[in-house]
Symmetry: C2
Subunit: 414 residues, 2 copies
């Protein structure tokens, strides 16, 4: 579990590529200045990225009196990455170039009851096929597909061990996906996907310690600690949604009582609304998305019930986020996922007030609380980033590709 | 906040010294095998430790057919380290040799009401003077004094920012101590001291991810993440005692309601007892130590009230520790500090059952819950370890000593 010089090299490779993505074109000298790495280290890492065709030489710039400096930039045609965000109510798929610009997007609705693994996998396969077709790229250029699935995931075996909202137990998801998709696959969960998206491209960039709070149907906290993703010993860290906020409180589908998720996940917010105003027209009993949308519109229109529900929810969130601040002492807490995006700044303002009532002064003073600044789906972006990291780790390895093949799969064209 | 190659070098230096402390005498070859470092790296680090006189050459051993291998061991006369554990009810001070054997010990009671910084500092100065006199060592051999004080501490400025049980705010503790003690001083808090003690010498050794739960008057969680201590951005991570377990529950001195500490710190346990059996003879209203001792004896004698109070406390602890397991996904949770040591295995057995009812299956399966195996005061040992780390960090620096001098101080003799 100790960090080795190999880990450092990988982290430095990520850092150089992040910097090139952020500011193309750029020179090795600028990269050394921006990353704090030596020019020799930067030159080696740039060489590796050139060999991988992830970046290209794009000319020279004058340096005052010295030799002209070579410029590099992300190789727009160097490959494509796909990110898949499987949620309880939808499947979003985005296809990116190597600068992580979105080139194509496909969405599928997952209807209530459509919770069998085969049904979900069919949606994923359809959407992946769609983005490749839309982008009109050769399959061979897809470097990898990152797939985020809710719950607890074993990355090594590709098994979804536990997805509480669907009651999945030990579903061999990677095997099921491999029957339809022939690109290299990288499985993980939305907590880690959104955290890595913030780390590479969002509010955690350049931050050593950040907590990315995901508010969707389920809730959880992606952890950036010591400049990297904290996975824990079996890749299940961050299950903040299943920490106790109200001992003996609401029953959670995990079997416990009073979990944070039962108060601030979308179904929990619906229950907050129902308890406050049982007959409210804001409530769409079978439709989380419609209810949260209605609450957001209600707050904008100063509907007192909507305002009160958001305030009540923020009170729970404030206590739970203060716990994260007291435990981790982060520089930033990022609110991410669809519930946070829909309720937006009015929610964040209430959360900031509630957190200030609960957190200890010293860690509170060191923390800011912000909405995710990522304009697209952070989970798709993070999942694609896992594919990018996977492709970067193939440096020096022979065959980055999975060699399994099956009939009828979306496969690299030859 | 990123880890650098300098951090790696420091971590490797610690690892080599830890290994020499664990198994003296030993050879460079054995050290390389045990640490996974290259023989060249080990040879460099051993050379540094020899230069610091922390270790010595102690002869040779045959290697089958090859050249005899040089052996090194901890230098018993290479210096002394002092660890100070300031708690709400006592000051413990221990003096160690470089192998972290206790050479002398002094305890002072801190009586209720003795909460002024000057009073506490006087106890520390008396006890430090006592251990140096008892050990009969020259002051010049004391490499440093680690001081643990409850609450939130700014290590850089030496200020105790907030000690809730004493209502201390921004006490310049290091300055006050420096008026009495002339050795190099290293200030931190008991969460981090006990965590570093477990990391170097206890249940977290060789573990990448561990949570050290401190149960005393106050409670908190020392965090070992990625093989090192997690401090957070302003050295205040680990305030688990001030996370919410019961929303709107018991009032905490931090101003919040329902904090973990109000249910499982010593005063919280006394309240659990009072609520269950107001007139119980187990309760010593003004004496935490006597009450916890009485509970431990009661459990041993199967007194039903004592058994029930420990079970109730374990129920709160179980929910709170399950939160830590779900968040951090650690390999081990270590129960430390005096309340855990006094209540011992009967408490741990109840806690394990309660945790199993609350934690998610995947992180639960990866974790064990144990009592601290450190036979002496882990906070003293950890505080002394901070002094040892401080001495190691002076490698290549000119003057490791603080140069301030004042009258009447316990000072290196010349």
């Amino acid at each position: 579990m100790k960090r080795t010089s190999r880990d450092i090299r990988t982290a430095n490779r990520y850092e150089v590529l992040r910097q090139i993505i952020a500011a193309s074109p750029t020179s090795r000298q600028e990269l050394a200045a921006a990353t704090g790495l030596s020019l020799a280290t930067v030159a080696t890492l740039v060489g590796e990225l050139l060999d991988l065709r992830m970046i290209t030489e794009v000319g020279f710039e004058d340096s005052a009196g010295g030799r002209p400096r070579g410029l590099v930039a992300v190789n727009g045609s160097g490959g494509a990455l796909i990110g898949v965000d499987i949620a309880e109510t939808y499947v979003h798929v985005e296809l990116f170039d190597l600068a992580l610009n979105v080139l194509a997007r496909a969405d599928e609705d997952v209807r209530p009851g459509e919770s069998l693994p085969e049904q979900v996998v069919a949606h994923v396969a359809a959407a992946v096929g769609s983005v490749v077709a839309q982008a009109g790229i050769e399959g061979a250029r897809v470097l990898g597909v990152g797939v985020s699935v809710p719950g607890q995931v074993d990355r090594a075996t590709g098994i979804s061990e536990y997805a509480p909202n669907w009651d999945w137990h030990n579903v061999p998801l990677l095997d099921l996906l491999t029957e339809h998709i022939a690109y290299p696959l990288y499985l993980d969960n939305p907590l880690r996907a959104s955290a890595v998206a913030e780390l590479w491209f969002g509010a955690a960039r350049g931050r050593g310690n950040a907590v990315v709070v995901n508010l969707g149907t389920g809730v959880g906290a992606g952890l950036v600690l010591g400049g990297g993703l904290h996975r824990g010993v079996s890749n299940s860290a961050g299950e903040w949604g299943h920490t106790t906020l109200v001992l003996d409180g609401r029953l959670c589908h995990c079997g416990n009582h009073g979990c944070v998720e039962t108060y601030v996940g979308a179904p929990g917010i619906m229950l907050n609304l129902r308890e406050l105003s049982p007959g409210s027209t804001l409530l769409h009993p079978e439709d989380q998305t419609a209810t949260i949308d209605a609450l957001a519109r209600g707050v904008a229109a100063r509907d007192p019930v909507a305002v009160k529900v958001v305030r009540d929810t923020a009170r729970y969130l404030g206590a739970g986020i203060a716990d994260l601040i007291n435990l981790f002492n982060p520089e930033v807490v990022v609110l991410s996922s669809w519930v946070a995006a829909t309720l937006g700044e009015p929610l964040v303002a209430e959360v900031r007030e509630a957190v200030a009532r609960h957190a200890l002064p010293r860690p509170l003073a060191a923390t800011e609380i912000v909405l995710s600044p990522i304009p697209t789906d952070p989970v798709c972006l993070g999942a694609a980033t896992f594919a990018l990291e996977g492709a970067l780790q193939t440096v020096g390895q022979r065959s980055p590709r999975r060699t399994v093949r099956a009939k009828g799969r979306i496969a690299p064209s030859t």
